[in-house]
Amino acid sequence: MSNALAAVAAVVDPEIRVVTIADLGILRSVEEDPGTGRVVVTITPTYTGCPAMDVIRADIRRALAAAGHVDAEVHTVHSPAWSTDWITDAGRAKLAAAGIAPPAPVRRDGVVPLTLSVRCPRCGSPETEQLSQFGSTACKALWRCRACSEPFDQVKAL
């Protein structure tokens, strides 16, 4: 892994601080021009209105500068559209460890899935209920565990 890629991949998501932008699949590519040393980073938003994008761009530039790459550019692409299927296995494990239920796989017919059973990330019980499809950030839904009574966030399939 190049020094630039390692620096960018380690940037933490500003709203879910247990995962990196690489874990979430927000980071699409890091290309370094061998001649000029210029680094071009390509990222994609989780949701069109994600308010964290400006902070993520600034954090990427800061991380690259700290790693010695001051000449950097951050591009944002919208196609192909981000999917929760791009969250890595490591990312899913980190989400669960932080009490955030990872998303179910996205159904291929494009219909929003109605997840029948989301396991409580705290006690593991499947006896959970959705309180709201919209949670503390654009990418999360709000659930409650009927077994241990704890409310928890779930990254919703997209």
């Binding site: 919208h78 494009g110 949670g135």
Partner: protein, 241 residues
Amino acid sequence: MSAPFAFTLALGDDALIAAQRLAEWSTRAPEMEEDIALANIALDQLGAARLLLTYAGELEGAGRDEDALAFLRDDREFRNCLLVELPNGDFAVTMAKLLALSAYQLPLYTALAGCADERLAAIGGKARKESAYHLDHAALWVKRLGDGTEESHRRMQAGVDQVWPYVHELFAAQPEAPIDPATLRGDFDATVAAVLAEATLAVPQSGWAPAGGRDGVHTEHLSYLLAEMQVLHRAHPGARW
């Protein structure tokens, strides 16, 4: 005004004005989860609006960016449908509006995702996933209220009746646009009819069909909305924080 520019501007304005109206519910929704939900949906609309208005500015080629289009136009220059500028009304009216809007935007964005214009296709591919959640949310509330108590049924039906005249404008034919909205009407009618049937509500009779939004002829409500939305930018041009 070229057809792709007019079309993209109208879609961007729909999303922008819908975002502003939905955001008015912040701290006023009937429960905290709903407050968060409506703010989230408003944020999705704003995200789509920013992408669409940025692209509209590029299509126009006159150097206007998203901020110039959002904050420096007057009511007669906005191309949004009348539906999104109508006052929120009670919660049932808001849900009737959201049902209509999302049942229109979902097939629209889905069609856009397969259109020849790469930028519009990317925006459509992204926004349709979010629209599916909006539609699901509105449908859940319309069913819950319609098939709820006598009072909630009465008010949900009143909300649907109030909004219905304004849905026809959404599907006015635009044969030269990247997607002709007239082709989306069947999908819209099927979606809404299924939701209303399950909600034990009647599909209103179609009669009066006000229009004019796409030509910049709006209801009196838009000017007040714009005054609130634009005042900061106009008082402090280029303000950032």
